[in-house]
Amino acid sequence: MNQSFVLPNSGHTFDPKSSKLGMWLFLYTEILLFGGLFLVYMVYRSLNPDAFLLASFKLNVWMGTVNTIILLTSSMTVAMSITALQKGDKKMAMNLLWLTLLAALAFLVIKYFEWGAKFEHGYFPGMDHYDAMPVGEKLYFYLYFFMTGLHGLHVIVGGIFIWVVIAKIKSGKVHKDRISLHENAGLYWHLVDLIWIYLFPLFYLIH
């Protein structure tokens, strides 16, 4: 048999367009995953408008705002790092990715203190203060912890993704002519940012 024959459309040869398409499809599933939660939020907000408003005053708008700025900036640095690598500037690309990682870390640290304060007040489901709340506020805090928690998980995953890309740029596996992984990490990071852009006003700002 002719072992060396490879089809022109082989699934075993790397195809950057496939990889990009796959990533986009995956992002759709992520959006729908959060979409279910946004739907639940919408329903309960419309059923308990006053309670949601009251509960939202218990959040720290400042911390939320700082985190929003941090994430937006990190989206910029990740985009810049892709451009840098496309131009062949490996050093710059890696530095920008490190900056992105730093931002992810800063986001998580702030989130940690924010959640910590809520725990201290006993707002977490099952704690004394939570149990004393009216139903609407309970739903609010339940959704708050669920949605920002799931988002936080995505920040961690996105961070790991970026870290892998840094390692691969370093070892030369990701470079100017083979940049898909880097671009995909960027896409994923933009998604993490995008979801936060919706979470922030929904929980902190709407009055």
Binding site: L7, L33, L37, V40, G126
Partner: protein, 537 residues
């Protein structure tokens, strides 16, 4: 022409050892891994169904307690839905034949493919682990309706986690197929040159991709609700159980097209081969798959007519559900028209396809009865529904899958099963199936409710008929599987193209070589089913 031996180079002997199977990246081997796993779980599900039918042979308690019965139908439902029927055709035959149909050597992401197989195994382990951990398998029904699913002591968390993981596996398969279809078609093959099976997988994959995440997050909410003891869905603390039902069916209705569309793809594939003539209305069939997938997103409310929804909403959901019947009938008419004046060759795969059309017709028409608002108020949660969905899922998709197994058996293993025995098995299956489920439709109209271990004495006769039917059905199943197993070891060597099929998989040897094609496959002039010397109608 019968070759004396299997081809020397085939994907079975390309690599050796158990590891070369467990960690294979070859789409054919992954398809077979799925086949063995899925059939095993199917058999577990069948045993559970068989036991339920035994319990229902006579009124009153026979072999299991009411609580046990609740757990058995739940586990049966979970296994049959999440472990058998949803993955079945795409994961087995999609994996094996999509790349062959497109004239390529694998799916777009072979490693992701292996990952989704292992996720399937992990999910299956969780589902089975409910048997031994905690208070046993869930007793909620496969729908996990809140608030009961939040309150029961049985092992709902683990079952739900299983469904979540299986959903992930299903998403990855869908994603892989979409990219494969977009990127890996052989040079010159446009979308409208693809076999219809590929089209149906394409539509299915979009549903897997866009509907599964919604049920994923809903199931996570159930878990969170159980673990933290607070309620999104429990009305006693402000939650809304109807909201759960909406979220659940937003996925689970489209999911029934994950079950049905690939089966329709198989029918469109197999009928032209045994009529030896081109499919009637290629584009109508291809696009009606997409239409079904699309409309399917907007009809979920028909599961909730009696749960409390406004008259207007009920009316709209009812009308939209009727719309699904249109693209579905388009397909049925096209299949029949394909057979008309074809040179029909009645072989076992064709018999299964005819059974599909017959059973699916009953399943589809009873579906319309459920979709009609007034009728459904009476029929909801009766045995009519149980009859209806078994007709669609088992009589339809299940039979199509068995047919595909007989159709592609010589391609996969290079051997042929005993046809006489296969005929007997088919007859038993078809007869047993209808004897088992048709009485359920009548019982439902008479008012027998589903999900009970017991029934009123006036339902006795028909229940006995159904249970006897289950015995015939199961003997048919055993005969079919035994026959295939024997064929696999001892069957006569088959030629590369025993049915005179015309799609690309028949251009390569049986079993195919590791990389599928030794030379670029040749596209068929004028469409994938264009038989050169077919009789002109």
């Amino acid at each position: 022409m019968t070759a004396a031996a299997l081809p020397e180079n085939n994907f079975f002997n390309a690599k050796k050892g158990i590891m070369s199977w467990l960690f294979t990246l070859d789409h054919k081997r992954i398809g077979l891994l799925y086949l063995y796993a899925i059939l095993s779980f199917f058999l577990v599900g069948v045993v559970l169904g068989f036991l339920m039918r035994l319990e229902l042979l006579n009124p009153g308690q026979d072999i299991m307690k009411p609580h046990t019965y609740n757990q058995v139908f739940t586990l049966h439902g979970v296994i049959m839905i999440f472990l058998f029927i949803i993955p079945s055709i795409p994961a087995i035959f999609g994996n094996f034949f999509l790349p062959l149909h497109l004239g390529t050597d694998d799916v777009a992401f072979p490693k992701l493919n292996l990952l989704s197989f292992w996720l399937y195994v992990l999910g299956a382990l969780f589902a089975l682990a409910t048997l031994v951990f905690g208070d046993g398998p869930a007793d909620t029904g496969w729908t996990f309706y809140a608030p009961y699913s939040v309150k029961t002591g049985t092992n709902v968390t683990m079952s739900v986690l299983a469904a979540f993981i299986l959903g992930f596996s299903s998403i990855l398969t869908g994603l892989n197929f979409i990219v494969t279809i977009h990127r890996l078609r052989t040079p010159g093959m446009g979308f409208n040159q693809m076999p219809l099976f590929a089209w149906s997988l394409y539509a299915t994959s979009w549903i897997q991709l866009l509907a599964t995440p919604v049920v994923g997050i809903t199931l996570l909410m159930i878990i969170a609700e159980r673990v933290f003891g607070i309620g999104l869905f429990d009305p006693s603390i402000g939650g809304d159980p109807i909201l759960y039902q909406h979220l659940f069916w937003i996925y689970s209705h489209p999911a029934v097209y994950i079950m049905a569309l690939p089966a329709m793809g198989l029918v469109s594939e197999i009928i032209p081969t045994f009529a030896q003539r081109t499919i009637f209305g290629y584009k109508a069939i291809a696009y009606s798959s997409m239409a079904i997938a699309f409309v399917g997103y907007f009809v979920w409310g028909h599961h909730m007519f009696t749960s409390g929804m406004s008259g207007t909403a009920g009316f709209i959901f009812s009308i939209l559900t009727f719309f699904v019947a249109i693209p579905t009938s388009v397909k049925v008419f096209n299949w029949v028209a394909t057979l008309y004046k074809g040179s029909i060759n009645i072989e076992i795969p064709l018999l299964y396809m005819m059974a599909f059309i017959f059973n699916f017709l009953i399943g589809g028409l009873t579906g319309l009865a459920n979709a009609a608002l007034a009728a459904d108020v009476h029929l909801h949660d009766t045995y009519f529904v149980v009859g209806h969905f078994h007709y669609v899922m088992f009589g339809g998709t299940g039979f199509a899958m068995f047919g595909a197994l007989h159709y592609w058996f010589p391609k996969i293993w290079g051997r042929m099963y005993n046809k006489a025995r296969a005929n007997v098995a088919f007859a038993l299956l078809f007869f047993g199936f209808n004897m088992l489920y048709f009485p359920m439709l009548i019982l439902g109209i008479m008012g027998m409710p589903r999900r009970y271990y017991d029934y009123l004495p006036e339902f006795h006769g028909l229940n006995q008929i159904a249970t006897v039917g289950s015995w015939i059905l199961v003997s048919g199943l055993i005969l079919m599987l035994a026959n295939l197993l024997i064929g696999l070891k001892k069957g006569k060597i088959a030629s590369a193209n025993p049915w005179n099929g015309i799609t690309l998989e028949w251009q390569t040897s049986s079993p195919p070589p590791l990389h599928n094609f030794d030379k670029l496959p040749e596209l068929n002039e004028g469409g994938p089913y264009n038989y050169p010397d077919a009789k002109k109608a």
